[in-house]
Assembly symmetry: C2
Homo-oligomer: 224 residues x 2
DNA sequence: ACAAAAGTGTTGACTTTACACCCATGG
DNA sequence: CCATGGGTGTAAAGTCAACACTTTTGT
């Protein structure tokens, strides 16, 4: 039977999530510091080994909570990673997810059973990461950038709505480029993703800005 | 250690590929018939268990060759599947790929060590599939449709070039819709993906059509 | 009253869509 | 000579990119 075959023995699955946030126009990702070998003392993305009794997404969410205390976030699978030597301990394939949350609304656990620290790192100031997590993080960012234009993936960054200047700054942070204000507004409003609340909120100006929120329904597009 | 923990024991990785072709305007996928339990006698996509000494893509290619005889094709990872009960034998997570080839240029093995048959099935006439392969196939088709417009993913369908009427029929088969001939040509030519050879070839008409081929370089696009 | 950000419209360039006629070849 | 699919152009609508001035508020 299979278990006796060395070709298949001792395989496992990692579920890894790159959790992003944007603070004052700076895109950051949550990293945790490993307490144990391998890669003891290195920073890595939240994640760990999948249990037999849980689906992939369930496992990813459990790992996020175990390593950071963050519960119940929306995550989206984007790619799997399986280089033979990506883990030095045994053969592990990683199924990777991204999540995006408002960091000011969660309290992260600094220390847990398997980690000695946790923090938000600006994406242009990432330390060397354990395992293949630098590669995973790079792909995660690319995926995030490709999705923010036409989806409501930023929804959970703004649980209490957002003003247009505010969300534009977020777009600019994630895409790492400036966008014309008038064109940005026209585009975002035309996508049918967001709607006006009747409230206003102050952001950077003295004049209060209109408050918007993402609609509950999603819409996709085709080319032909 | 890990191996003694029932939460992690006996996990494995499937590498599964949905191989598509288009024959006379009909999109088809390669299925193989299982020789053994579980799902003995059921049709499934090509694939199987990943070895410890191979990367994901290598394993997917080996499985394709073992189950169909097809060698060295281009494949692209699109999603992973990990429902707890997706395999009745042990906990398996599937990393899924798509491939697309010209079926007339390969000879598929009907019977192998683990399969009793292999054949191309039109995508609207798929029998019930073993494991979660119906779900994987559905996602594979969606992925393929999302990619053909702006990439050269069809390249390997036309190793000897193609005429515009010919490739348009392929687009229509995969997207399952009619496209205006003049607009299709303008768009495809404008994408800078294909180039004129100086030859012609007959397709459906009596008048020979110009022969094109995909360029070797790829180009992608952004929104903002 | 002024500083600072919020809010708004128009024009030209480009892209997309819809649509009809001539061309080359085989029979 | 005619039937069949191959090949082409144009106009109208829509989208995208560039650009400057007015409004609201706090101080």
């Amino acid at each position: 039977m299979r278990k006796s075959n060395a070709l298949y023995k001792n395989q496992g699955i990692h579920v890894i999530t790159a959790i992003f946030t944007v603070e004052q126009g700076v895109t950051k990702v949550l990293l945790v510091k490993r307490k144990n070998e391998p890669y003891k003392g290195d920073w890595i993305l939240t994640g760990g080994a999948l249990y037999n009794n849980e689906d992939l997404e369930t496992g990813a969410l459990r790992e996020i909570e175990e390593k950071s205390g963050i519960k119940n976030i929306d995550i989206e699978q984007f790619k799997s990673f399986g280089r033979v030597d990506r883990s030095p301990v045994m053969r592990m394939v990683a199924v990777a997810y991204i999540g995006i949350i408002d960091s000011s609304r969660v309290k992260i656990l600094r220390e847990t059973t398997n980690t000695t620290n946790a923090d938000w790192f600006p994406i242009d100031k990432i330390p060397g990461l354990g395992f293949d997590h630098e590669e995973i993080l790079n792909e995660a960012l690319k995926y995030l950038q490709s999705k923010i234009i036409t989806t409501d993936i930023l929804k959970s960054l703004f649980p209490n709505g957002f003003t247009l200047p505010e969300i534009q700054k977020t777009y600019e942070a994630i895409l790492n480029k400036k966008i014309d204000r008038r064109n940005f507004r026209k585009k975002l409003l035309s996508l049918d993703l967001i709607e006006d609340t009747l409230e206003t909120r102050k952001f950077e100006g003295k004049k209060p800005a209109k408050l918007y929120k993402f609609k509950s329904t999603i819409k996709n597009k085709n080319v032909f």
